[in-house]
């Protein structure tokens, strides 16, 4: 191939001297800090304590970038010796701190708030550690940068014996502090664990004492595991394969049971978060059929969710718009069926559109649905922007599912059924036909796959999953508005299946937990969730295109792709040198 541009950037990489790399790393991480400060992330993170009165998420993030500057310098191993590496780390750390320090200096001199809303006095106070002459605080920041950069540079030089327990302990403290809303209610609820709670946490978060205890405990555990690891592994290796498998299954069974029973102890806040995660998992599995298996990038997916929700609402609600007064168990199958039919109808006009165009066409279709639902023209039927209210809760034999926890179990049951269906479909003749049209439509057609049928089934079944989720969504809220069904939901779902891994079922749940669960739980993320979604999408596509939990088929594919790319990239370099 004469047209090869990758080679240019490769050659650029090879030119870098160690010091240029140090400067680039430092400035890049300084840029990250600057970005976070200007956008307001740092200040938002400042309001969440990791350790009460000691460390906030804001400072932890800032410190982590400074540490990372040193770490990245050392990781390349460009210097070869310890002393220049240490100096390199210190320089990178100072540079990474220099850009936010410069920002602090600017804020202390000029008031920029009329343009940049985030550059306010609290940010200045944060960046200068509350020191009164701002210059003193700026000096502190630079010293901190040097110290953490140096620490980062030294970190890889420590032996595994020391490094792993240290890292494990720190990560554990970070998680225990950040997820305190998740952990505290569970510990506080039962009388047995209440003393543990009091030892580690106060009402506002993790205490310093708790942090030290957790750090020591986890570090010790990692150390012990490292010391005895080989012995345990050989002992397990000597067991019969059958026993090994049984051990593995029992682990997984216990984990599943724990996850399933967890919301019962965790209370309604966690129940609500898990419920939303469950709904998005359900929709994710539907979109996964369309995008992950059949390769049909659908940005109008939210329309099916809306169809499920509106059908349920119209069939159940105690409102003048209602068509009937069915129970949830009668309305839900109808909603799923209607969604399936709408999915097929939706699919017919866009059958011949491929690839990128399909994404835009489905986006347009989804928006058309939304505009129509919102308009006055459809208001007599669908209530327009005022929405449909008073949708009753589902009941099982007199038991009303009204709490988030009980609705979570409903979602869990629906997700399990859907996951089973998706799993069986994925391995079936139809599933393989989907993957065939994903990989090459023309070849698939030549092989006798009925494109129309197979594509419409992908739209229909994917839509049915979304309809099921929409149905539960309607009874969860008790009222629905067209504003709940924005384009952003489609993109949310797309983001979560990409982050989890296209075509992978466990990946959908992982993606939903990371992209939906985390921002729901950490309010500070909430404001910036879409920014993080965007960054996560780009990062995953660039660094880990198969996602966090890739499907087995995708992994195989990537391996062959990597070989192809390697062959391609080698050729032009040879040309260049000749």
């Amino acid at each position: 191939m004469a047209f090869e541009l990758v080679a240019a950037s490769r050659a650029e990489d090879a030119k870098t001297t160690p010091w240029r790399h140090v400067i680039r790393t430092g400035l890049a991480l300084g840029g990250v800090n600057l970005f976070m400060a200007v956008v307001g992330i740092l200040l938002a993170f400042q309001s969440r304590p990791i350790i009460v009165d000691t460390l906030t998420l804001g400072y932890a993030t800032l410190g982590l970038t400074l540490f990372a500057a040193g770490l990245l310098v050392a990781r390349r191993g460009l210097f070869g010796h310890r002393d220049p590496t240490l100096v390199g780390g210190v320089v990178a750390g100072i540079l990474a701190a220099a850009l936010p320090a410069l920002l602090a200096a600017v804020i202390s001199l000029v008031d920029l708030r009329s343009v940049f809303v985030a550059l306010n006095p609290p940010l200045l106070a944060m960046l200068t550690f509350g020191q009164q002459p701002a210059l003193l605080g700026i000096a502190c920041l630079l010293v901190l940068g040097a110290a953490l950069g140096g620490a980062g540079a030294l970190f890889p030089l420590l032996g595994d014996r020391i490094r792993r327990p240290l890292a494990g302990g720190l990560i554990a403290v970070g998680l225990a502090g950040m997820l305190q809303e998740l952990i505290r209610p569970i510990l506080a609820n039962s009388r047995v664990t209440k003393p543990v709670h009091d030892l580690l946490y106060t009402w506002s978060g993790l205490t310093l004492r708790g942090a030290v205890i957790i750090f020591l405990a986890v570090a010790l555990a990692v150390l012990l595991w490292d010391l005895n690891r080989r012995r345990i592994e050989t002992a397990v290796g000597h067991l019969k394969p059958q026993t090994q498998r049984r051990i593995r299954w029992s682990y997984m069974g216990a984990a599943a049971l724990l996850v399933a029973l967890f919301p019962l102890f965790a209370g309604n806040f966690i129940g609500q978060v898990l419920l939303i995660v469950g709904l998005f998992t359900l929709m994710g599995m539907g979109l996964n059929i369309e995008v992950g298996l059949a390769g049909l990038l659908d940005l109008g997916f939210v329309a099916f969710y809306a169809v499920g929700a509106y059908t349920t609402a119209l069939l159940m609600a105690d409102s003048p718009y209602a068509l009937a007064q069915l129970s949830f168990w009668q309305a839900m199958p109808i909603a799923v069926l209607v969604s399936l039919i709408v999915g097929v109808i939706f699919g017919i006009p866009v059958l011949k559109i491929r690839g990128d165009y399909l994404a835009v066409a489905t986006l347009a279709l989804g928006e058309i649905v939304r505009v129509i639902v919102l308009s006055d023209a459809a208001a007599p039927l669908l209530a327009g922007s005022s929405g449909i209210l008073q949708i009753p809760r589902p009941e099982i034999g007199g038991l009303v599912l009204s709490t988030p926890v009980s609705l979570f179990y409903l979602t869990l049951a629906a997700s399990l059924v859907a996951a089973y269906v998706a799993w069986r479909l994925g391995g079936s003749r139809l599933g393989r036909a989907w993957m065939a049209i994903r990989d090459d439509e023309d070849v698939a057609e030549a092989l006798g796959i009925n494109l129309i049928q197979v594509k419409l089934l992908a739209y229909g079944i994917g839509a049915a999953f979304a309809g099921l989720a929409g149905s539960i969504f309607a009874v969860m809220l008790g009222s629905i508005y067209p504003h709940s069904f924005q384009l952003i939901i489609s993109i949310n779902i797309l983001a979560l299946i990409i982050v989890g891994g296209l075509g992978s079922l466990p990946g959908v749940a992982v993606g939903a937990a990371v992209l939906i669960g985390l921002p729901e739980m950490l309010r500070e993320f909430g404001e910036f969730r879409y920014l993080f979604y965007g960054l996560a999408i780009i990062a995953v596509m660039r660094l880990k295109p198969a996602g966090l939990w890739p499907s087995a088929a995708k992994l195989r594919e990537l391996e062959t792709d990597a070989e192809d790319v390697a062959v391609h990239q080698r050729a032009p370099v040879a040309e260049r040198s000749s």
Binding site: M1, A2, F3, E4, L5, V6, A8, S9, F35, V38, V39, G40, I41, V115, F116, V117, A118, G295, L297, I348, P349, V350, L351, K352, I353, G355, D356, Y357, A359, V360, A361, L363, A364, L365, E367, I368, V371, I372, L374, S375, D376, A377, I452, I491, L494, A495, I498, F528, Y530, L531, Y533, G534, L535, A536, I537, I538, M541, R542, P545, H568
Partner: protein, 367 residues
């Protein structure tokens, strides 16, 4: 077989009739869709004209507004179409790139407005505002290209599109974080606020200004693409990448130049859009972005004059359409359906004529 060849053209209909059994339900649905749209357009037009709710002045108002906003769509559409022509890639973040320029220029425009400079030296002030917008758009576009598109130049998957969706989110929410989530009102200088007489009708002054600026920008772009070496290289690259590379064209430079050119047009378009609607916030880029994309598709994506004409056409249809087509069918509050018309145009073109209005002529010329 023999009968078919003897029959010649005359048998085309006969063949269609014979193949009637091959018509699938898909064809039927598509035919119904086509008929439905035609019925709404024709029926609506007749109904509206019979009813006579609107006066000639109102029609002219709608038409002029369509031309104005269409010019803006055309400017933004150029970015889509040029990038597609060379990279075969939809720059999904282009709408938000437009927003970044217009949002940054807003602050300059506001300070000009406050200091009275905007009223005292309209040309100088506008030039400054447009320059800021173009610069910011260019920087953003180059960053997006570097991070989202360059790594995927040789990968024929959905990856660049997905990355672009991510980039669009990052841009929107970075600007939300930096400049706040409130809707800001764009300055409205006196010389832009009045109405002037045009062909016996009075139109808001802002409209001829926007149309004129858009026309000049398009003309400049056309000259760059047709008359300069870089423009020739662009055209060569979009004809045949490998051959162009063999002729010694630095593809990387040309691709960057294309992004810069598209971003400059978007920078102008974004500011004009904001001067028409008088407001801006972080999500402003989405609608003009998707409509400009529709315009590019309508004109035949990859075709530069096509994008300009497509933009103007879409603007006019979108502006006149609700009153002309929908009012006559008896839909209440047809102005709510403006976006619906743009999306329907996009969908119809993608389904029935993916090569757009001028796509075919182009391919025939090349062959």
């Amino acid at each position: 077989m023999a009968a078919e060849s003897l029959g010649g053209r005359r048998s085309a209909w006969a063949r269609r009739l014979r193949n009637l059994h091959r018509i699938t339900y898909v064809d039927v649905v598509l035919l119904l869709l086509r008929l439905g749209v035609v019925a709404v357009v024709v029926g609506g037009t007749i109904g509206t004209l019979l009813k006579g709710t609107y006066t000639a002045a109102q029609w002219f108002d709608l038409f002029m507004f369509g031309l104005t906003i269409g010019g803006v769509y055309g400017l933004i559409a150029l970015g889509y179409t040029m990038v597609y022509g060379i990279l075969r890639l939809i720059n999904f973040a282009h709408g938000d790139i437009t927003m970044t320029g217009a949002f940054s220029a807003f602050f300059l425009a506001r300070s000009f407005d406050n200091s009275g400079f905007l009223d005292a030296h309209p040309f100088l002030a506008m030039a400054g505002i447009l320059l800021v917008s173009m610069t910011v758009c260019t920087i953003t576009a180059l960053i997006v290209e570097r991070i989202c598109y360059r790594p995927f130049r040789h990968v024929a998957t959905l990856a660049p599109l997905i990355c672009a969706i991510g980039a669009s989110f990052v841009l929107q929410h970075t600007f939300r974080g930096m400049f706040g989530s409130s809707v800001r009102s764009y300055p409205d200088p006196d010389w832009m606020g009045g109405r002037i007489d045009l062909l016996g009708f009075s139109v808001p002054t802002v409209q001829p200004i926007v149309i004129g600026t858009a026309l000049i920008a398009m003309l400049v772009l056309y000259v760059i693409v047709q008359k300069t070496r870089m423009g020739m290289a662009m055209r060569a690259l979009s004809e045949d990448r490998d051959a162009a590379a063999l002729m010694g064209i630095d593809a990387n430079k040309v691709i960057l130049f294309t992004f810069v050119l598209g971003a400059c047009m978007a920078g102008i378009g974004g500011v004009l859009y904001c001067f028409v609607y008088k407001q801006i916030y972080f999500f402003t880029g989405f609608l003009p972005g998707i409509k400009a994309f529709s315009a590019a598709v309508l004109g035949g994506i990859g075709n530069i004059p096509g994008a300009m004409i497509g933009g103007v056409l879409l603007g006019v249809v979108e502006s006149v359409g609700p009153a002309l087509f929908l009012d006559g069918v008896g839909i209440p509050a047809p102005y709510q359906m403006r976006d619906l018309i743009a999306f329907t145009v996009l969908l119809m073109v993608l389904i029935f004529r993916p090569q757009g209005l001028f796509g075919e002529a182009l391919t025939r010329k090349r062959a």
